[in-house]
């Protein structure tokens, strides 16, 4: 294939070549034969008039000269090099045209002849109207687009109401509001604010005591009359905000109270659980692969813990990104860091990979595409994936840039191998320290030594067996299959098609005789030997047959191995060269679980076809055998003693095998992490024309997005380039990374971003509502050492974040952030709160949460049962709920848990009837309501206090007068035996009501 620049030069060369060849006879040939053919069979998809598929036009000479996405369609004079001819020949399934029906052989020949003639074509582009191709911005144009320009430092604007801003964020926000002649909303009441702060930072509701403390401290700070316990007065304000009361002379004192709470919560381990969960959405985190054959990611929890821990420890965001892209390559201070960093690279590995894809090179590029999509949307806010098949149609991302990045990832190993029927990821053993490491090391040393002993013993046994074979069962004698080394498939275990009779006519056989076709039914009989191999690898395949003069001389034998099919012929009149018994068919690679077999057929044979057995010898066994076969046979006494030795060795091998199994099962299993590492072969890759894996174009040097970098990438020849990619992503000079993340943090705090298309900062994304503020935050983020906690702190301490909900005239979408958004609680917060209220919530942090998550054999047909049969019964926080791709917790499905298959940093919040049905009828909700009711009734308080407590735990406030009246009525006249039911209904109602679901 050609790269783009080559096509252009070639195109120019061709024009002159063609113009030299103008000949009236040729033209006639074209008009008579070619034009009608093209018009009938090609124009529908390849003409300006109808469609221009794949960018190719065949309605003019220039059309096929320039060609489409795959390059020039015709090379005049050279049919074999012309893509048009290749396509109509229909030999390559992915490159066959016309798609609906093959041209006739005559038609193909006519086209070939035309190309051979030099492809005379009188049609010029001028005669046909051109169809415009959609093209994206050039790199130069792109560098002028807002998101690719480095953030600029701009002083916060001046504002009229100088008392309102609590910091620079507020100046940017207020300036825009004042521009429109408007005012920001009043402050949220303390009761509203405390709930907002808790859910935003920890995903959990404040306890009644925490609400009280906060309200008391705010009141004290603002000299409000309300003191002590949260009273009705404050509470009423929660429902009907009274705007001016808390705006302040003493607003800085109030700010201090908020600050204290925020600082306290930023230190809570639940901060990392909640903010880590946000990142897990970006990282399309899941604990199984989904897709075709879903496979459990048994170690994915380690990545989840890594993320939670990183947010809790406030690992600088640039380092956080570096670790996830190239943790395995970065220096580590100690083995704990090494473990963390290896674990971080699961970011690249835990996509929704369709491991079952049979074309493993296709799979490899699908994985790379998914990784680029995730890095693009997650870190850069770019839809890089659009450039897999062609230059990006809107953004300044040429296809070349895609393959520059792809080269880095194709130099990275994400799949364990490229041969397994069902592929799998890499489980990287983790090194520990101190006593623990010693324990593992000792165990592993024991295993290794036992394994070595076992292998030696096996080799010895193979030698002994080989000798025995030669001695006791030379030509003319029978031998049991088990006596022979290697894997032997006897004819009785083979699949015979057609009549094969059993014979013992010639005494040289394995097991109980051999098969013969009786020299009948030629072409209708086959016998297939399918081995069960202990491991993948190269094997020598040997075929046993008893020879004879009446045998066929040309017996076809097919070997289907991992790399294809081989057909050999065996002359059964000759004595087999190996021990008079076997002939070698060659060495081939077989997969342990692959579909390898050896098939003997009697097609086109003359004479008897016989088949006795097939032997598969691992390469190392062959060497041992050859050595063993040399010594001459001894006398009877030696033979007997040899047989004794052999039996003893046989027993010993069996014993060792069993202790090996025991030791493996008993010993501590070294922890492993999902991870990637550099590929053995490192290098640049080629553009894949139209994204087709097999259609290679020009090679491109590994690199990054040109539009978002100043200097060309310098990538070491010794590594994949992930280290450099990580550096480029996490560089302060990258115009996207910091912007994209601060925008996410804003979105997760406010409920909508400054750029609302959080995954798309390209030309088709939305423009920022506050471009200067976004730049300010991005620069500040970098200045403050990429500290996420400092960023979040600054956002939630802003005055803008602490306003009441409401509406702003002329701004229905609240793009000015003049008031707080009313936000639906996340699925996790809904579940966690219900569990907290019922008393069931288990607040243990970190660690695995799926039982039976042992080693997964991808090719085991029951591998997915852990997921399919999983019962969601645990009561830990939702961030630990098993995140299967094919089976979600019902509550998550109902309440818009992000699509677990791709980067969705911003959760949608739908309102659908299944949510209502879930809250009305699901056993989970009913169970929580009942448990909460039983808890309430067990306390000695009266119903009034119970009701107050129910409100305080579910809605973090007291009931209003109206609500009190409604519930009192529901409790009036309730008989003793209905009290649990009545209280269950009250709790369920609170779970289902509006104020539970929304955060003011």
């Amino acid at each position: 294939m050609f790269s783009r620049p080559t096509i252009c030069t070639l195109g120019i060369a061709l024009v002159s070549a063609v113009s030299l060849r103008a000949d009236p006879g040729d033209s006639e040939f074209f008009e008579k034969k070619i034009r009608p053919l093209i018009e009938q069979r090609c124009s529908e998809c390849h003409s300006a008039e109808k469609k221009v598929k794949g960018g190719l036009r065949l309605d003019s000479r220039e059309g096929w000269q320039t060609g489409g996405d795959s390059g020039a369609a015709v090379v005049p004079g050279k049919p074999d090099e012309s893509l048009l001819i290749k396509a109509v020949r229909y030999r390559d399934k992915d490159f066959a045209m016309p798609p609906k029906k093959k041209l006739s052989a005559d038609e193909v020949a006519t086209l070939e002849q035309w190309v051979k003639m030099g492809a005379p074509d009188p049609r010029t582009a001028a005669t046909v109207a051109g169809a415009k191709k959609q093209v994206g911005l050039s790199i130069a144009e792109g560098k002028k687009f807002w998101s690719y320009i480095a953030p600029k430092k701009i002083a916060p604007p001046a504002v009229k109401d100088t008392a309102w801003p609590r910091g620079d964020i507020d100046r940017f926000i207020l300036a825009k509001i004042e521009e429109k002649g408007l005012h920001p909303a009043p402050d949220a009441t303390p009761v509203v604010l405390v709930r907002r702060i808790f859910y935003t930072l920890t995903g959990l509701p404040p306890s009644p005591e925490e609400v009280d403390t906060f309200v008391r401290e705010i009141s004290a700070a603002t000299n409000d009359k309300v003191t002590g316990r949260q009273g009705d007065k404050v509470n009423d304000a929660a429902v009907t905000p009274s705007p001016t009361r808390l705006v302040t002379p003493s607003s800085s004192a109030r700010a201090k109270v908020v600050e204290k709470l925020v600082d306290q919560l930023l230190k809570s381990p639940h901060f990392g659980e909640t903010w880590g969960r946000h990142w897990l959405d970006v990282a399309r985190f899941a604990e199984s692969s989904g897709g075709g054959r879903t496979l459990l990611f048994k170690d994915a929890w380690r990545y989840r813990d890594y993320v939670i821990d990183a947010f809790n420890r406030d690992v600088p965001f640039d380092r956080f990104i570096r670790e996830q892209i190239a943790g395995d390559l970065l220096p580590a201070a100690n083995s704990e860091d090494k473990r963390r960093q290896l674990t971080a690279t699961a970011f690249l590995a835990l996509g929704p990979t369709n491991y079952e894809e049979q074309n493993k090179q296709q799979l490899r590029f699908d994985v790379i595409d998914e990784q680029l999509d995730t890095i693009g949307k997650g870190v850069l806010g770019q839809t890089i994936g659009c450039a897999r098949c062609h230059d990006h149609k809107f953004d300044p991302i040429p296809q070349k840039d895609y393959y520059a990045l792809a080269g880095i990832l194709s130099s990275t190993r994400t799949l364990f191998n490229y041969t397994d029927n069902v592929a799998r990821w890499i489980s990287e053993p983790l090194k520990l320290e101190g006593e623990e490491e010693k324990k593992f090391a000792a165990h592993e040393a024991k295993l290794t030594s036992l394994k070595q002993d076992l292998e030696t013993a096996k080799k010895d046994l193979a030698k002994m067996k080989a000798v025995a074979t030669k001695v006791s069962a030379g030509p003319g004698k029978s031998i049991a299959a088990a006596e022979l080394p290697g894997i032997v498939v006897d004819d009785v275990d083979a699949k015979a098609i057609g009549e094969w009779s059993n014979s013992k006519h010639v005494a040289t056989f394995i097991g109980d005789g051999y098969r013969t076709d009786d020299n009948l039914g030629k072409g209708s009989k086959t016998i297939t030997f399918t081995p069960k191999l202990p491991k993948s690898g190269r094997y020598e395949v040997r075929f046993a047959y008893p020879p004879g003069t009446n045998r066929a001389k040309k017996v076809p034998v097919h070997i289907l191995h991992a790399e294809g099919e081989e057909k050999v012929f065996v002359d059964e009149t000759l004595e087999p060269p190996i021990g008079g018994r076997f002939v070698s068919l060659g060495k081939f690679r077989f997969e342990q679980d692959g579909a390898g077999f050896v098939l003997v057929s009697n097609a086109d044979t003359k004479g008897f076809v016989v088949a006795d057995a097939i032997q598969f010898l691992a390469e190392e066994e062959v060497a041992a055998l050859d050595a063993a076969l040399k010594p001459a046979p001894g006398d009877d006494a030696t033979k007997r003693s040899d047989e004794d030795k052999r039996k003893k060795m046989d027993a010993r091998v069996k014993e060792m095998e069993s202790s090996m199994k025991k030791l493996t099962g008993a010993g501590p299993l070294r922890p492993t992490a999902m991870a990637v590492h550099d590929e053995e072969e490192i290098g640049d890759t080629q553009i894949r024309v139209r994204g087709l894996v097999g259609q290679r174009g020009a090679q491109v040097p590994r690199g990054f997005l040109q539009v978002a970098g100043s200097a060309p990438a310098k990538i070491s020849g010794k590594e994949s380039g992930r280290r450099e990619l990580a550096d480029w992503l996490a560089s302060p000079a990258n115009p996207l990374t910091a912007r994209v993340f601060v925008n996410r943090a804003w979105d997760w705090s406010f409920g909508s971003g400054i750029v609302r298309t959080t995954e798309n900062f390209g030309t088709t994304g939305e423009q920022p509502s506050h471009a200067e503020l976004l730049d300010f935050l991005a620069l500040r983020f970098v200045e403050q050492g990429w500290s996420v906690k400092k960023l979040v702190r600054e956002i939630v301490l802003s005055h803008a974040w602490q306003t009441a909900t409401g509406t702003t005239p002329g701004d229905p979408d609240n793009r000015m952030f003049a008031h707080a958004n009313r936000r639906r609680l996340d699925a996790e917060a809904i579940r966690d709160t219900m569990l907290a209220v019922s008393g069931a919530l288990d607040l243990r942090t970190l660690g695995p949460n799926i039982g039976n998550a042992g080693e997964i054999n991808a090719n085991d047909t029951s591998a997915q049962n852990v997921e399919y049969k999983y019962e969601f019964t645990d009561v830990r926080r939702s961030v630990y709920t098993p995140a299967f791709r094919n089976r979600r917790l019902e509550l998550f499905e109902a309440f818009d848990f992000a699509d677990i298959n791709a980067t969705f940093g911003h959760r949608s919040a739908s309102t659908v009837a299944p949510q209502a049905l879930f809250l009305l009828n699901s056993p989970f909700v009913l169970a929580q309501a009942k448990a909460a009711a039983e808890r309430a009734l067990a306390s000695s308080s009266g119903d009034d206090e119970r009701l107050a407590n129910a409100f305080r735990t579910t809605l973090c406030r007291l009931p209003t007068e109206k609500e009190r009246a409604i519930f009192s009525r529901a409790l009036t006249g309730v008989k003793d035996d209905r009290r649990t039911e009545a209280w269950s209904q009250i709790y369920q109602t609170l779970f289902a009501c509006l104020d539970f679901r929304y955060l003011e």
């Binding site: 798609p99 609906k100 029906k101 429902v239 989904g290 897709g291 075709g292 054959r293 879903t294 369709n354 079952e356 894809e357 049979q358 074309n359 839809t383 659009c386 699949k495 098609i497 072409g523 209708s524 086959t526 297939t528 076809p556 097919h558 289907l560 790399e563 294809g564 099919e565 098939l599 097609a603 609302r756 298309t757 995954e759 088709t764 979408d813 047909t861 997915q864 094919n886 089976r887 979600r888 699509d899 791709a902 949608s908 739908s910 309102t911 659908v912 009837a913 299944p914 209502a916 049905l917 009305l920 699901s922 519930f967 039911e981 209904q985 009250i986 109602t989 289902a992 009501c993 509006l994």
Partner: protein, 473 residues
């Protein structure tokens, strides 16, 4: 004027409301608001449709076309011969073909009906409907393994995350019954893509398929999730009234928020659904003749018969897209006879009569005219024995499906495979083409049915797909 198709953003902001949406009860602007807000409001198609709904009978695992609807005498003639074939799986893995043993059909083929179409004895009941069927003999698709091919069948891609066909139809046309979901998948499997096969991906959640039961669960126990009140009706009513009152009180404190109103409304709808939906799946009022037609009450056919009957009932109630899954949760689902081809007969027994019954019933009720029935799997099977055994491997390169009703030519066969039934060669129909054609029959232009996501317009057929006009009546 057509109601414009909703963008994701506006749909999300304007509160998507589930299953169906009864617009803001009690508000004066009800009708107006309904058209503006309800993403499920019936929408005008791009062109006059031939059909109003689709019933897709999914035969998971891949039915052998050469044993059922694609008659190849050559297989009988060359039965047992070793020949070279470009086996799809071997090619995917090694880039080369392999020698294989030709295997003749295990069921006898006969010409049927007026049309004289060849159908084997594997499906004697369906065979009686030959004059209704439009058999597509030249299907081909992507994906050699079940996972990729099943996802391709449902979402038009083997590996990307894309909406399923039913979601696209729902998005394109809206719903006809606000008390029921517009897209129902009966007894879906968790395997081979699982929920992705009826998922909405990046389309708004309102367009997702609703699972009715799950594979392995007896159809007689099937119902929509959480549809049956967990309390006695008396207590359920008390609880609901309490919730109504509390929500009204809370809403009064925050007037004018349409999203909160939508939540209240979703409860009203859920309450009504509790009353309606169980009736749809309740087949107890069907006549004994109808039950018998579907084979309900007979051991082999009871389960699939019930599911087919439910499909008809859902369609009658205005559900646009119903998929009935004949599947299981395994990696080698139902029809996947890699060894032991004769096992096809067990599956055929389970589906043959119910499917034929469904056709008869739809026709009798005048529903077949504007209902497309689509029968088929994710791919076909090879004309040769797998590893020289007794079964057939997957064949994505050539296979058959059939359509009936809704504007397709009856008693018609389209396209052809080669003389072995291995590769589609004549009038080839790619799965993308089938998608395009089905959408076309529903009044939707597959090139215009797009959704803007991540800055790009997506469609079911990606950049492919041709409408197969020749099969349209």
């Amino acid at each position: 004027m057509d109601t414009p198709l909703f963008s994701r953003r506006s749909a999300l902001q304007q509160l998507a409301c589930g299953f169906g949406y009864m617009a803001l009860a009690g508000l004066a602007a009800q009708q107006q608001a309904r058209a503006a807000i309800n993403p499920l409001a019936p929408r005008k198609p791009h062109h006059p449709p031939k059909a109003k709904r689709i019933i897709f009978l999914f035969m998971a695992g891949g039915v052998s076309h050469v044993d059922s609807f694609d008659y190849k005498p050559r297989l009988i003639k060359d039965d047992g011969k070793m020949m070279d074939f470009d086996d799809a799986r071997t090619i995917a893995k090694t880039g080369k073909g392999a020698t294989q043993r030709v295997m003749k059909p295990l069921w006898e083929f006969k010409q049927r009906g007026q049309s004289g179409r060849w159908v084997s004895e594997l499906f004697p009941e369906m065979a009686k409907h030959s004059d209704e069927l439009c058999v597509m003999n030249s299907m081909h698709t992507e994906g050699v393994a079940h996972g990729p091919a099943t996802l391709f069948l449902h979402t038009g891609t083997t590996n990307f995350i894309r909406p399923s066909m039913g979601s696209w139809v729902n998005y394109g046309l809206g719903t006809q019954n606000e008390n029921l979901p517009g897209f129902v998948s009966i007894a879906p499997s968790l395997g081979n893509g699982g929920p992705r096969n009826y998922g909405n991906a990046f389309l708004p959640a309102v367009y997702q398929g609703t699972a009715l039961g799950r594979t392995g669960q007896p159809a007689k126990d099937t119902n929509f999730r959480n549809i049956i009140p967990a309390r006695s009706m008396d207590e359920a009513k008390k609880q609901f009234d309490l919730l109504r009152e509390v929500n009204a009180a809370q809403l009064a404190a925050k007037p004018g928020d349409t999203e909160l109103e939508a939540v209240i409304n979703s409860y009203e709808l859920a309450w009504r659904m509790q009353g309606h939906a169980p009736d749809v799946v309740d087949i107890s009022k069907e006549s004994p003749e109808t039950l018998a037609l579907y084979g309900i009450g007979e051991k082999d056919t009871d389960n699939f018969g019930r599911e087919c009957l439910m499909a008809r009932r859902l369609c009658e109630q205005g559900v646009r897209y119903v998929q009935v899954n004949y599947s299981d949760n395994s990696n080698n689902p139902a029809w996947d006879q890699h060894s032991n081809m004769p096992k096809h007969a067990d599956h055929a027994r389970a589906v043959d009569k119910p499917v034929a019954g469904l056709l008869t019933d739809l026709k009798k009720r005048g529903l077949l005219e504007d209902t497309i029935v689509w029968w088929g799997g994710e791919f076909g099977r090879t004309p040769y024995a797998q590893t020289n055994g007794t079964g057939r491997d997957h064949n994505p390169n050539g296979f058959s499906i059939w359509l009936a009703g809704g504007g397709v030519k009856p008693g018609f066969a389209y396209g052809a495979t080669d003389e072995f039934g291995h590769f589609a060669v004549e009038d080839k129909v790619h799965m993308h083409d089938l998608h395009a054609t089905l959408l076309h029959l529903m009044g939707l232009d597959h090139e215009k049915l797009t959704f803007r996501h991540d800055g790009r317009d997506y469609r079911l057929t990606d950049v492919y797909g041709h409408v197969v006009k020749d099969i349209i009546a």
